[in-house]
Every structure is written in C-alpha cells, then in structure tokens.
Symmetry: C2
Subunit: 343 residues, 2 copies
C-alpha cells in the first residue's frame, strides 16, 4: 500500500540558541512525505510533547543524549496514528507513541531505535495523558521518586514545578506512598490546583512571598525528599531545610536552561554534608525496561480516580516556537502539549 | 589519689571569626587544674589533632555538631595520658584518645559523652598515627570511601587534599580495593609524595597547570568516585569529568570555610543529572559503632607496610592559632598535629 500524496512540515534546528530560543533558531521546512519502504511505517503526528529538556537537546556538548544537529528536525516525543505500514509490527490505524520529532509526518523503520515507537491503547486513557502521566513525564516522576527518592510513609516530600507535567505526578505518587506533600509553583491558580485538585497537602507560591518562609510554614518537620525540576534559588532554599539522610532528586533545572551566564550552583550544597544527605540525577531512559510497570500502576490509579492529570494543549504545529517558550516563562498550566492534527 | 598541683592553659573561643581566624578570636586562659571527683579522670594532653572541620565548629548555626560557644574551650580531638583516675574505667598511665579540647589538661567524667574517651594501644602504631589513619581522618577516609563511594576494582578514584590527613588514607584504601587513584594536591613536593611514597597512580598539582587538564591527562576513563575535601573550582572541574553513576563524596570544602562571601556552589552540578550520578555528604560520627573494624583493618595494613601515614607535627600549645592557619593556607604537609607535651 502506497501512502497518499502528502506534504510534510517540520521545524528544523537552524542555529544553537543563546538564551531563550528565538524565531531565527528555527527553520520551517516543507517537503513531500516519503512513502514507507519495506519494514517502514508512515505515522501522522497528532500530539507533540513539549518539555523543558528540549532546551538542553539544542545545546552542543556531551549530555545524556546526543544534541539535535543543525539542520535536523527538532526532537520531540509525540503520539501519532499509523497511516501506512510495510511492517508486520504495526497496522494502519494503530496509535503509537515515540520520538517522532516536530513535524506532521514521520516515516521510518518500524523498529527505529531512536524513535522507539510503541503502540498505545486509547481505551486506557485519553491520548494526551499518554504524553503526561503515562508518558515520559509520568515515568520520570514515578521512577525518580520511587527509585531515587525512596519515600517512606510520613516523610515530607517537596516538589518544584508542582503544576507541571512531572511535578503533578510526583506529588500524587508521593501521596499514594503516604507522604506529606508540599508543592512549589508560580501563582495562586496553580497552587490552588495542586492542593484542591491533586490533593497535595500544601503549595508554596514562589511568586508571592519567599520559598524560605513557605518551607518553614509548610514543612515543620523539615524536608526528607526534594524532587527538583527548577534549580537556582529554590534549590538553595530547600537545601537549607533538609533533614538527616534527605534525598534530593535532580530531574531538571528549568531556571537555568536559558542562562547566558554560568549556571548558578547550589551555594547551600554543604547541607548535604551536615545532613549526610544525597543529591542524585535521574534520566528516565534508564528505566525503559520497566515503563510497563509504571504505566500499569498509574493507569490503575487514573481509573480509580486517585491520579489526576492536567494538560495544557496548544493548537497548531506552526505555533511550536512560541509554545516552547511558554515552558520557560511559566505560562503553561499543566503538561504542555502541541496538537498537530485532530484525533 | 589527688592530682598534683598543676596549671592548665587553654585556648577559648573569644569571638566568631569573619574569614580566617585571627588572634583576637582567641582568649589564652590559665586556671588551676581541677582534681578529679568520683567517676572522673584527669588527662594530660600530649597531642592535638588540627582539622579543617574546626573552622566550621567556630561558626554559629545548625550543623552536624553544636558550635563551640563563645568563652568555651576550643573543641579538638587529641591524645593524652591519664595522670589521675577516680574511675574504674581508666588507670593512671593509660593512653586515651578523645575530644579533649585545646588545652594542657582535661578533667571530667570517664564516660563523658562529648569527650568520648577510649584507650589506645601505643604498640599498634606511634601515637600521632592514632590521630591520623587510626583516628578521625582515617575513619572518615575509610568509611566515606567504602560506604558512600562503594569502589569497585578498576574504577578511577580522584581525591583532593591528597597529601592531607583524609586524602592520604582515601587514596591508599582505594588502592587496596584495586582502583586507579589520582590525587590532587598543591605543589610538586606533595604530589611526588603521594605518588612515590603512598603509591597513588598520579597526582595533579593544582598550583601548576589546571585541574581540568590534569584530569584529562590522568583520568582517561573518566572519574567514577571523587572524594572531595576542598570544594570550589576543583569540585567543578571534577564534575565535568565524571562517569555514568559516579559517586561524589562530600567530606569537606576547605576552599570555602573562610569565605566572607557566599559559598561557591558547584556550577556543574547538572552533571549529576546527565550522568545519573550521586553527591552525598559524610560525617564520620555516623560510623562510630564500627570504628573498631576500620582501625583493625588499617592497623594491619600499617603493620604490613601497605598503608603509610605522614604527620606534620608542630610543637607547643601556644602556637595553636598559627598552626590552625597552616591548614587553610596549605602550609601543612601531612596530617597536622600540635604536640602539647612530650610523650
């Protein structure tokens, strides 16, 4: 079966950004969709996941994953529908999740390792949730908290970016494990959401008062686990309140990703010494062989109503450059997703 | 048995230092030695251990141990001889190790918890070694490396302050565990010592060339374990070279202890994320119930000649203020000890 005649549109990386990515860092490119060859499939992209980590992929230099090359399609995870298949692994109509890139169509080998496509079941949860709690952010939250944080009932867990994709799930998983959960988020609306909708015990609005005071008020027993998505001054404020044998999970540092000056290291890191505490990085890919465990437990919680998700869905591939900036300006409310085509 | 009429001399903390401790931060105090009451002993101090951690004890604020109070005798570990005892636990003539303070004589309960006196056996090693490899620095090195670092044969271990009390033992224990060991020290003499005398594989002279270049040259396989005694720019340089799943042991940060500006946090801490690496603090007291394990293994190595120690012994209690500064100016060569009285 040949694919229909279609035009692909892509955002390619035109230049390595200095600070926040600007329009000239992107090339909007059109080209005909390529028919799948033997063993290949053609996927129409429906949703793209926009994540803070994407900023890191745009930089040169050694990291946990190769940088996106200049002229290459920007890397992004997403969900799509198989519209043509020359592989026994997928059939037309299948819904798949994987690294499809910022474009309308993806053509490639069904078993392409960097795309890592897998079928998803729309009956389990709405498609956007497969990019949220049941996708990379959810897996990051689940395995980062449980494997690195090792929460025990009664412990106090603090999570920054609490209304964001990873943060919202971290807090809810921690509640499932019997912890006191305090979020940190920007603005009253987000704070109200994580407390009232997601069931966090408290939320500190970093835009209204200091995090230091908030921690003092809401973590009277100190902090046992801190799941850090933001870095910067908030990390330092939490370091000053950690308990003996605390665990700090370094998941991200969105406050530092667009720096044009050097990253601000945590001046209070000697609190690790005083408290015999640990700071450890997490990259979700390390848990790939156990995603199914996380997905099935979280899908069950979602069904039971004890795990909620919130997505912030922006329409239109052409809005990608601005949508990405929403993350760094805190303008998204919930997991940020770009809808490229109707379901 | 009453104690003989003796005069004690002490260094008391007169003021909390700003930056390097200066003479006016100390009060040199004389008072009659107090006779031991029932259950008490009188100890003549022979050697005092001078350690970077002492600078931290002089600061106000929460730490792993209460600060020394203004007007109190400066805290210090040391070795002394019991010269009068009204306790069945010790006899006159016993040699003891414990927190005796910067003074000539210590009188107190034989079971005083903060002094934590224990008998030592001079047949096992010369007395100064009981403040070095067989004392707190040795225990710090032994348990910090083994319990937090978890070295595996073939791994690369880097240690800063390599010629110092903790560093010299860290490197030799790591060699015993089959690791490649690279020291960082200041000056050719110290570097030659750790390589030629202690058997390190290499040593980077931070006063001659950059640590970055040294690490590149001497750690071609990257760094699996970094035992940090210094903090600052050296910590950042090592962070840039760590391997996947590296362990960074935060033992101290001598470069930062006398800062009058905020501590320099490690700007490269996101290398922990990229490499799923861990940074963890260690305080030796946590291993107190297992010191005997460390002491006996290290005493055996010393006897076999496979663990060497070097002490830098300064004479005279009255020289305490200047001797302490040697640590922060890198003027000591080996474990710094103040001899207060002849053996």
């Amino acid at each position: 079966m040949a694919a229909p005649a279609l035009t692909n549109q892509q955002f390619r990386l035109a230049a390595r950004p200095v600070g926040l990515p600007k329009d000239s860092d992107w090339e909007f490119h059109s080209e005909p969709v390529r028919d799948p060859a033997d063993g290949e499939i053609l996927v129409q992209v429906l949703y793209l996941s926009l994540d803070p980590a994407m900023r890191g992929w745009m930089n040169e230099g050694k990291s946990y994953i190769a940088p996106v090359g200049i002229g290459e399609v920007m890397r992004a995870g997403g969900i799509g529908r198989v519209i043509a298949s020359k592989s026994p692994a997928f059939s037309a109509g299948d819904l798949v999740s994987g690294s499809v890139g910022v474009q309308r169509y993806w053509t490639g080998a069904a078993n392409d390792r960097s795309a890592a496509l897998r079928k998803i079941d729309p009956a389990v949860a709405p498609l956007p949730a497969h990019l949220n709690a049941l996708g990379m952010p959810g897996m990051t939250a689940y395995f980062g908290l449980l494997e690195v944080g090792m929460p025990k009932p009664g412990e106090t867990v603090v999570v920054s970016g609490a209304a964001g994709a990873v943060g919202q799930t971290v807090g809810q998983v921690a509640k499932h494990k019997g912890c006191r959960v305090v979020g940190i988020a920007g603005g009253k609306e987000k704070c109200d959401f994580v407390v009232r909708e997601l069931g966090f015990d408290a939320c500190i609005d970093y835009k209204n008062g200091t995090v230091k005071e908030g921690l003092k008020a809401h973590c009277p027993q100190g902090v046992d686990i801190y799941f850090d998505n933001v870095g910067g001054e908030i990390l330092d404020a939490v370091l000053a309140r950690i308990n003996l044998k605390a665990r700090i999970i370094i998941c991200g540092a969105i406050s530092q990703y667009n720096n044009t000056t050097p990253v601000k290291g945590p001046a209070n890191y000697l609190s690790l010494l005083i408290n015999r505490a640990r700071m450890e990085g997490i990259v979700v890919f390390d848990y790939a062989d156990r995603y199914s465990v996380g997905v099935s437990e979280m899908a069950r919680w979602m069904k039971e109503g004890s795990l909620k998700t919130r997505e912030d869905i922006v329409q239109g591939l052409e809005n990608f450059p601005d949508a990405l900036l929403m993350l760094f300006e805190g303008r998204n409310f919930g997991k940020l997703i770009l809808q490229v085509a109707p379901e």
